[in-house]
């Protein structure tokens, strides 16, 4: 494994995160580029009372909530796409056992945007008139207020700057300096740039020479990056465009078993708590043949014919 620069072992970086109450923005979206290896390691190390933020909730947030690791979760909605719902999250909302602050994809990102720009807030019309806003004004009153713009006298929601202590995103590659390459959409760019410490798990650490030959692929330059952890298939069973596909078998099974906490617990015990690291997780849940089959076709960016 290529080390040096900001490249560090995943376990060591996770060990740095406080055992209780750490504030983390996650980078996944439903079933793609979810930082699974990182989140599994958070669970293995028994982190508790996490304050989580996410653009669109997905596989990893459901895992963390199901594992009982989350105290508060602010997000713009979420699902497993056609594979199902975030039942561990949703049940927490239904039972009132989880402190959830529902935003939308834009409104939570306006908070990240303000954080990334170093400005105190961003005014926006979005959420005026909704129950989402009514709930936020109650639950998240330190972060959201309704005011008149001094220029046009109209009502706006002021979304307060958010700079989470950590952001954790998964990307196909980065160099040892922390220049991060992402192919496809970059819904997690604002949250990555907003965080105080950005941790990036990558399938592969590449040379800085590769970066210099493809600077237009760098979505997040090294200035933002706190640590780079090389974890091959680090987003499995979710997809990484141009690297590997999601595992439809695993996700559809998960989208059923997450309806019951007891079934979820068995799965977590078997695959996360029962494995010592991501390689064991991969071997147990996927196996070498499945992993090979999921590798992306270089033209299509996913495993042509895999699903």
């Amino acid at each position: 494994m290529l080390m040096g620069g900001k490249v560090r072992q995943l376990q060591d970086v996770v060990r740095e995160i406080p055992g209780r109450g750490a504030e983390i923005a996650l980078g996944g979206f439903a079933i793609t580029r979810c930082p699974v290896a990182f989140v599994n390691e958070l669970i293995r190390q028994g982190k508790k009372e996490l304050i989580l933020y996410e653009t669109i909730g997905g596989f990893t947030a459901d895992l963390l909530v199901g594992a009982g690791a989350v105290k508060r979760y602010s997000y713009g909605g979420g699902s497993l796409d056609k594979f199902g719902q975030l039942r561990r999250v949703n049940e927490g909302i239904e039972n009132g056992t989880l402190d959830v602050r529902e935003y939308t994809a834009l409104s939570i990102n306006l908070r990240f945007l303000a954080g990334s720009l170093g400005i105190p807030y961003v005014p926006s019309k979005t959420l005026l008139g909704t129950d989402i806003l009514a709930n936020l004004l109650g639950k998240d009153s330190e972060a959201v207020m309704v005011k008149e713009s001094p220029f046009d006298g109209e009502q706006y929601v002021y979304y307060r700057s958010l700079q989470p202590e950590y952001a954790v995103i998964h990307a196909p590659c980065a160099d040892a300096k922390g220049n991060v390459v992402i192919y496809g959409p970059t819904w997690d760019e604002e949250l990555a740039k907003a965080a105080k410490k950005l941790i990036v798990t990558v399938d592969k650490v590449v040379s800085t020479e590769f970066i210099r030959q493809h600077p237009e692929m760098v979505v997040i330059p090294s200035l933002y990056t706190y640590a780079v952890c090389e974890v091959p298939y680090g987003a499995y069973p979710t997809s990484v465009y141009k690297a590997y596909d999601y595992d439809a078998d695993v996700l559809s099974a998960y989208g059923r078993l997450n309806h019951e906490q007891s079934e979820f617990n068995k799965w977590l015990q078997e695959y996360v708590l029962g494995t010592k690291d991501h390689n064991e997780f991969l071997l147990k849940l996927a196996g070498m043949e499945k992993l090979a089959a999921l590798r992306a076709d270089p033209v299509f960016g996913y495993a042509k014919g895999a699903q």
Binding site: F29, A30, I31, T32, T55, I56, G57, G58, G76, G77, G78, S79, D81, K82, Q85, V89, N90, E91, I93, E94, E102, Y103, T104, A105, L106, S107, N109, L110, F112, L113, K125, T126, L127, L128, G129, T130, D131, I132, E154, Q155, Y156, Y183, G184, P185, T186, W187, D188, E189, E190, S239, Y241, K242, D245, Y246, A248, A296, F300, G301, Y302, K304
Partner: protein
């Protein structure tokens, strides 16, 4: 020439497609909205720009996906961007003509619930939440919804207001400080609702062939009004059904 045969889903997709105009920018998700947009693009609207809120513009997928997070839907895109790129600099700037939204419930003002429903025992059942839906409802000039026509879904009162339509009708939307909404078009398996001008409340503007006003009344949770010039929804042409079946959804995942 024999009459064209079509499924209800095909009729809904064709109706939505025909409501799109060339050169418009539309935000869609997986399913019939995507099918409708692709059909419009292959017929009368070749310059339609199709955007997924995840940050993808004008993809040309060749394989069906499980949602907008599936890289299958990103194939041969013209542009990739961030959350703020898609929902800030495109949507909030006002560049989106039509936003297609899904919903658990809709009321007579076109307000939408995609968050949670109250069950008979008083408990709640939580679903997906907004994603970009509430943002799209705020800033898209036209909101299109394709949904099943059921009393519990097309309802007198929402369990949760996720996305604004016309709020409480009249000028309540603009009074709340929201940008103008030109149209809320609800395409169901029975009819098409649109805005009754002046009052800013939904009315049935066309009934699908073979559907009676009573069918709509019986399946709607709010007091339905019918437009003065109530139409019959136009049926698909053979060109449209052929495109749907051979090019756009050959596996019949959405149009069956």
């Amino acid at each position: 020439m024999a009459a064209v045969t079509y499924t209800t889903n095909e009729l809904m997709a064709v109706t939505a497609a025909r409501a799109l105009r060339d050169g418009q920018n539309v935000v869609v998700g997986l399913g019939l909205p995507q099918v409708a947009a692709l059909l419009a693009k292959r017929t009368h609207a070749p310059n339609l720009n199709i955007i997924y809120e995840i940050g993808v513009a004008n993809a040309e997928a060749v394989d069906p996906g499980v949602g907008i997070a599936d890289p299958r839907l990103w194939h041969r895109s013209e542009y990739f961007t961030s959350s703020i790129g898609a929902l800030g600099s495109i949507l909030q700037k006002g560049l989106v003509d039509v936003g297609f939204l899904g919903a658990l419930q809709i009321d007579c003002f076109g307000n939408l619930n995609s968050t949670q429903v109250k069950l008979a025992d008083g408990s709640i059942r939580h679903f997906t939440g907004s994603g970009g839906a509430a943002d799209i409802a705020t800033f898209a000039r036209n909101i299109f919804v394709i949904m099943k026509h059921e009393k519990r879904k097309i309802t007198a009162s929402l369990d949760y207001l996720t996305s604004v339509g016309l709020l409480a009708g009249g000028d309540s939307r603009s009074k709340a400080g929201l940008p103008m909404c030109l149209e809320v078009k609800i395409i169901t398996n029975l009819c098409v609702f649109g805005i009754k001008r002046g009052q800013n409340v939904l009315e049935v503007q066309s009934l699908h062939p073979g559907v009676a006003q009573e069918d709509v009344l019986a399946n709607t949770g709010f007091a339905v009004t019918f437009a003065a010039d109530l139409q019959t929804t136009g049926i698909p042409t053979e060109v449209e059904t052929t495109l749907l079946r051979t090019r756009i959804d050959p596996r019949g995942l959405f149009i069956k």
